[in-house]
């Protein structure tokens, strides 16, 4: 249960935002302790090549972690290969190729988990099921039992929403990143449909918060002309939209809450600054500002100014918060609203 949102501003830049709520115990307990978007390019490679990427996952935390690790390992693997070819130049790996490689690794990871399950239950693995037999010390054993074949096949294909392996299949992810030859790109992974794809729209949302986030994104993007969508969205306006999309999920959807992790990509910046994360009180103040603007407690001008200062100008938290309250026509109303009071 989560929300991970991504948006593209232009060929060079974009952003990702997620919440941090994690659930346990048959969805009874909650805690704001998750780490859902992880930059996956080692700093030395980023600094050298200007390649930046982050992966955000929804579903089972352990599977998401595994995917993040796979991605980081892949980059290191590519980097090691490159060292063996010192004259090579150009890109280490494009975001598109990285997505393709992640999906290949994902497929292997999925088959390994299914094999673990099948072996634990029946003593054979997926390839044994396909060839129709397996081998033990006492010899070859054919897999003939129709019910076992059906169940094993369901484990491999998730036919009928096979519940024992739900933890494995209900995982989705977003990979966003910038690489100099192809620019800023977003890719979407879905283990329920066994697929990955480049995101054709300007935005992508995953997790239990997707349904309400999508409403905000759809409204924002639909208000933009084709030219704007293709060439350039105003980054501040786009950030207000993605934060509002996350706010809507936090307010209306289960399993979404806590601070946000805001990840900004900008390929125009020096390599070391091409990706920045804002996951502290500034992210919280940013979400409060957007919520107050949408509740018509503060003006659009003030909200956009505060968001720009916090996210793009590295403004000081205290000064910005003070400015927000000083310029708000009803500071007490703002305080109560942000504490969860209903309108008076």
């Amino acid at each position: 249960m989560t929300v991970v949102n991504a948006i593209r501003f232009d060929d060079f830049s974009g952003a990702m935002v997620c919440d941090e709520q994690v659930s346990w115990g048959n969805m009874q307990r909650k805690g704001d302790v998750g780490d859902k978007i992880l930059p996956v390019i080692p700093p030395e490679i980023q600094n050298e090549l200007g390649l930046v990427a982050a992966y955000g996952g929804s579903g089972t935390s352990s599977v998401s972690e595994e995917i993040k690790k796979i991605t980081a390992d892949l980059i290191i693997e590519e980097s090691e290969k490159r060292k063996l070819r010192p004259r090579s130049n150009g890109s280490l790996i494009t975001i598109g190729v990285l997505a393709q490689r992640i999906f290949q690794k994902l497929s292997i990871m999925k088959r390994e988990h299914v094999d673990e399950y099948l072996y634990h239950r029946y003593g054979f693995k997926g390839n044994d099921l396909i060839r129709g037999f397996y081998e033990t010390q006492s010899g070859k054993i054919e897999i003939n039992q129709a019910e076992i074949i059906d169940e094993a096949q369901a484990a491999m294909t998730w036919k009928g929403g096979f519940s024992d392996l739900k933890f494995l299949y209900v995982n989705r992810g977003i990979l966003s990143g910038f690489e100099p030859t192809e620019g800023f790109r977003i890719f979407y992974f879905n283990m329920m449909t066994f697929s990955y794809e480049p995101v054709g729209a300007v935005f992508q949302s995953i997790g239990s918060g997707q349904d309400t986030s999508d409403l905000e994104f759809a409204e924002f993007v639909s208000s933009k002309t084709l030219e704007e969508r293709r060439v350039h969205l105003d980054p501040v306006e786009a950030m207000v939209s993605i934060v509002q999309a996350t706010n809507q999920a936090s307010k209306n959807n289960i399993g979404v809450g806590g601070y946000y992790n805001i990840v900004l990509f900008d390929g125009r910046k020096p390599n070391k600054n091409k990706i920045i994360e804002i996951a502290d009180e500034k992210a919280k103040l940013c979400s409060e500002t957007v919520a107050a603007y949408k509740a018509e407690i503060i003006s659009r001008k003030l909200a956009f100014h505060v968001v720009e200062e916090l996210l793009f100008n590295n403004a000081d938290f205290d000064k910005t918060e003070k400015e927000l309250f000083d310029k708000c026509p009803a500071p007490r109303k703002l305080s109560r609203f942000l504490r969860g009071y209903k309108p008076e």
Partner: protein, 353 residues
């Protein structure tokens, strides 16, 4: 799903509290529950010295109907006991509980029968006797697959989505009568049994997980004789809010404004015997206790402020001002109440410096 908590003050009195959060279709968070409902008409309570309040946890599509039916039926019995097949009117809380639970069960049974008739054309009574009648013809329910499928409607199963919300209901029915003082009963839709409440507290709903831990932690520090003697209303209110704070912090499906019902059989009039408190003041009371639990204000201050709100009904704005002034680090408190973290540590250090 939400939380309904109850605390016994002494032989005469107790308090209930409920939140207002519900996950519509299991995915959308909404704040609209009205889970604590007085069951009896005021004029009857005034003269009989009985009061009863139901706190229900479950899908509101069924709990709303069940409560409505129970209230209507109780009113009918009070008005015309003979027509309802009773020799006398209601005398005890147990009388109220039995009728209420019977009505809840009837509401559930009606829903099940509606579904079965929709699917197969027969209901639970027909299934029990093995046949149903249509157009004057008797049709036996012989097909094994159909009989087995129909049986699913009559039993609680987590895997049977059609009837799951009908059975997953729990209720606390608390109140008092002239003979027995304050007491309560717990009912579960899974087993159908009514159990007499024991001890000093009770909690139902998704939030009962963390609430129970908070209650246990409070009462494990109180020795037996003191537990029997009871506590002051101020202590009880604080403990109840502490349990609610725990559920809000750790459990899903708990949130929004609290709603209190204070029951005190010693009151001269019904309006003094059954008091409800909700709205901004109730939210502020929860904030005050949350601030105390997390070390922003002293316990004595929290007791005084909560008492001034819930019992003395002082003005919400004045109490809010006093609350902010009572904290040595009002900026840190403000941040904390808005959901900031410790960041809180550095924010609070700065605020205190």
């Amino acid at each position: 799903m939400s939380v309904v908590n109850l605390i016994r003050i002494n032989f005469h009195s107790g308090i209930m509290v409920a939140d207002e959060e519900f996950w519509r279709r299991g995915t959308r968070r909404t704040l609209y529950l009205d889970n604590l409902q007085p069951l009896l008409p005021e004029n009857f309570c005034e003269h009989s010295g009985i009061a009863a309040v139901i706190g229900l946890d479950g899908d509101p599509s069924i709990t709303y109907e069940a409560t409505l039916q129970a209230k209507k039926h109780l009113e009918k019995i009070i008005r015309e006991p003979e027509l309802s097949g009773r020799e006398q009117t209601l005398k005890t809380l147990k009388d109220v509980v039995d009728i209420t639970v019977a009505q809840i069960k009837l509401s559930i049974r009606n829903r099940i029968d509606n579904q079965m008739r929709f699917v197969y054309g027969f209901d639970t009574n027909d299934l029990n006797r093995g046949y149903f009648e249509t157009d004057g013809k008797k049709i036996e329910i012989k097909q094994e697959k159909i009989r087995n499928d129909a049986l699913k409607w009559t039993r609680y199963s987590k895997d049977f989505a059609l009837t799951k919300p009908l059975f997953e209901i729990t209720a606390l029915i608390a109140g008092f009568d002239p003979k027995n003082g304050f007491h309560w009963y717990e009912w579960s839709g899974e087993s159908g049994n009514v159990m007499l409440g024991t001890g000093t507290f009770d909690s139902i709903g998704k939030g009962s997980d963390a609430s129970s831990l908070a209650f246990i932690d409070i009462f494990r520090r109180v020795e037996l004789l003191r537990r029997r003697q009871g506590m002051t209303i101020e202590e009880a209110l604080l403990a109840l809010l502490e349990s609610l704070e725990a559920a809000t912090r750790f459990n899903h499906e708990v949130g929004g404004y609290p709603h209190f019902v204070i029951l005190d059989s010693k009151g001269k009039k019904h309006a003094q015997r059954l008091l409800e408190y909700s709205g901004h003041g109730a939210k502020l009371a929860l904030e005050i206790v949350t601030a105390w639990v997390h070390g922003y204000i002293e316990k004595a201050v929290a007791v005084e402020l909560v008492t001034s709100l819930v019992i003395e009904r002082k003005d919400f704005i004045k109490v809010e001002e006093a609350f902010m002034k009572s904290c040595a680090q009002p900026t840190a408190l403000e941040h904390f109440l808005r959901g900031y973290k410790n960041t809180v540590t550095h924010l609070s250090r700065r605020a205190g410096s």
